[in-house]
């Protein structure tokens, strides 16, 4: 069967999960203990960035493979094409975050508050990059450019199906040009977007490795989801020619990039730990002391589990083992993004709560002036105060993912799958005129 049909039963299940996700989002909006609905907004940002990133990475992998003359993936390349199409809803959801930025619905970003920036030399210094205009235009233009490349590649790939002969490579040559042009653009712009979307949540902090590290996280999540989708499609009787040989190579990618992710994670950690500069260590100190389960668990499920399970040859060829590992690793990288975003949002929210109380109590201009004069010492006091109160506190939805977070994630996942399965339905699963199709059919790794 080369034509995928999206059965109504599957639609119902996915719609039910999307409903669950919407319900969880609504609950976290109305039952939020944090100021400015920080729990709701951080959940929204977390899942939006995570799933948009998976769409971006699938486009990136595809273009890298086309440029590298890779052939083995062609049998299931329609899955990646479908994933990449999720960039469009991704941009819409990022549009909601942008809208919230301008209207002040959320306080995810410390740098978005002009009053905070005015009294903070670090934020003021960074304000040429961390500002609303850059965030908005950057997101619209850059994700827009990704969507342009995605649509171009997809339309060329679909046009190739309609060719009369397999010997016509003219469209494939065009795809190679599109792919090669996208590679540097995608690589550099994704870094800039990650700084804006994720790293600027901790507005004072920065790391030059961060973009690499979080892209690697997307990459592994994308591979895990690909394995799950391919195995599911096979279990439904599609993709008959995708064999354990292809699964083996996907498993190798999952294994290798789990190690690559760990390498980057550790490189970032060790340099900051060794240099011991206060502005940098604050990031890991917060996570180690206030989020210890998340912090160490992150390494356990994203490094030790895939490393030891996927080390052997035969585990990468077994459908059950691969599904098991992919589920763990997919959840693990969602968890990784949770840990990137939540502590910073909580910190900003605690400042917000603190500042509001302060404002109500003060009311006198004189006090305000003296506060501004000694703001350096005051600020340090604030941080110490926040750290002291948080160290012992369990903040639901932040310290660990709660039921609402899991439900939101399932909702977004269902949305992602619903959208991508709709895309899969639009074209044959077998790109019958791809010049590398024959190579993919005869792919052997052992």
């Amino acid at each position: 069967m080369n034509q995928f049909t999206f059965e109504s039963k599957q639609k119902t299940i996915l719609l039910a999960f999307m409903g669950l996700g919407a319900l969880c989002l609504a609950l976290s909006f109305f039952m939020d203990a944090q100021p400015a609905h920080a729990r709701f907004w951080s959940n929204f940002l977390h899942n939006t960035v995570f799933f948009t990133g998976i769409a971006f990475v699938s486009l990136f992998v595809m273009t890298a493979f086309i440029t590298a003359y890779a052939g083995w993936y062609v049998l299931f390349k329609r899955v990646w094409e479908a994933y990449a199409a999720f960039l469009i809803p991704g941009l819409v959801m990022l549009g909601v975050v942008i809208l919230g930025l301008w209207t002040g619905w959320h306080h995810l970003y410390h740098w978005a508050d002009p009053a905070e920036v005015a009294k903070d030399p670090i934020l003021e210094h960074k304000s040429s990059f961390l500002n609303k205009n850059w965030y908005t235009l950057g997101t619209l233009i850059i994700v827009g450019a990704w969507i342009f490349f995605q649509r171009r590649l997809r339309s060329l790939s679909l046009a190739e199906d309609k060719l009369d002969s397999t010997g016509d490579f003219s469209l494939h040559r065009k795809m190679k040009v599109v792919a090669a042009a996208f590679l540097p653009i995608g690589a550099f712009t994704s870094a800039a977007m990650i700084w804006q979307w994720v790293m600027s949540v901790d507005a004072h902090w920065y790391s030059t490795l961060f973009a690499w590290y979080s892209t690697a996280s997307w990459f592994v999540a994308c591979l895990a989801l690909t394995i799950l989708t391919v195995v599911w499609l096979k279990s439904k009787g599609y993709l008959e020619q995708v064999s354990s040989e292809h699964l083996h190579d996907l498993g190798k990618y999952l294994f290798a990039f789990s190690i690559f992710w760990t390498y980057l994670w550790f490189s970032q950690f060790m340099l900051i730990w060794y240099a011991n500069v206060g502005e940098e260590t604050v990031y890991f100190n917060t996570r180690r002391h206030e989020f210890p389960v998340m912090f160490y668990g992150n390494l356990f499920i994203n490094f030790l589990v895939p490393f030891f399970i996927l080390m052997r040859n035969d585990t990468k060829r077994k459908y059950g083992t691969m599904v098991f590992t992919s589920l763990i690793v997919f959840f693990g990288h969602w968890w990784d993004y949770f840990l990137m975003i939540k502590p910073g949002v909580l910190e900003t929210a605690s400042h917000l709560g603190h500042g509001e109380d302060h404002g109500e109590a003060a009311g006198h201009g004189a006090e305000h002036l003296s506060e501004a004069a000694s703001h350096g010492a005051d600020h340090a006091g604030d941080v110490a105060h926040a750290a002291a109160t948080h160290a012992s506190d369990f903040v639901s939805g932040f310290t660990l993912p709660g039921l609402l977070e899991i439900g939101t994630m399932l909702g977004f996942l269902a949305f992602f799958l619903f959208f991508t399965l709709r895309q899969l339905e639009k074209a044959s699963l077998l790109p019958k005129n791809d010049p590398y199709l024959e190579e993919s059919k005869h792919h052997h790794v052992m």
């Binding site: 950690f269 060790m270 060794y274 011991n276 040859n313």
Partner: protein, 176 residues
């Protein structure tokens, strides 16, 4: 056994596809292949010959684990017991700083250990006498070899018939 000379009847093929077909054919005719030589690894040859999967990687894992524990343990002993020095205000036991060296030692132990094990299993050491059937099997020829020691003429004829039937470009007898 080592000193005893072996008569080997071998055929050379020009293409790995011919070789794979010939190996299948030999299996069907129940001919006992002594060895197959190829200039590069041929996909699908190992299962056809019924060769068991190499267990070298298990040895590699063990060597790697030993290297990992040795590296980490040694540094821990040096920096906490034997010669404690404070570097950059860090505690004596600074696990993150030990990780890169531990990683390197894991790789070193695993790779050197596997090389030594592989050479030992293959009986390779400096100065070893290594008789080759034909120099061209290290270049572009694919070879199937049969042990023809003490074989009767009829058996040799049967093997020669097998070679000509499967498209061998050359058949030779050699004593090694």
């Amino acid at each position: 056994m080592k000193d005893q000379n072996t008569d080997v009847l071998y055929g050379l093929y020009d293409d790995e596809q011919d070789l794979l077909k010939a190996v299948k054919e030999a299996k069907d005719q129940h001919l006992e292949i002594m060895d197959v030589f190829t200039p590069f690894p041929v996909h699908g040859l190992d299962p056809l010959l019924g060769l068991a999967e190499s267990r070298l990687h298990i040895a590699g894992f063990v060597y790697g684990a030993i290297g990992c524990l040795f590296g980490f343990g040694f540094m821990t002993w040096v920096f906490t017991r034997d010669w404690p020095i404070i570097f950059g205000g860090k505690p004596y036991f600074s696990a993150p700083a030990f990780i890169p060296v531990t990683f390197e030692l894991t790789v070193l132990f695993a790779s050197v250990g596997m090389v030594v094990t592989f050479y030992t299993i293959c009986g390779l050491w400096p100065g070893v006498k290594n008789p080759t059937l034909d120099d061209r099997i290290t270049d572009d020829k694919f070879c199937i070899a049969f042990n023809a020691s003490g074989a009767e003429d009829s058996e040799v004829d049967k093997l020669k018939g097998f070679f000509s039937g499967t498209g061998a470009s050359e058949v030779n007898m050699k004593t090694i």
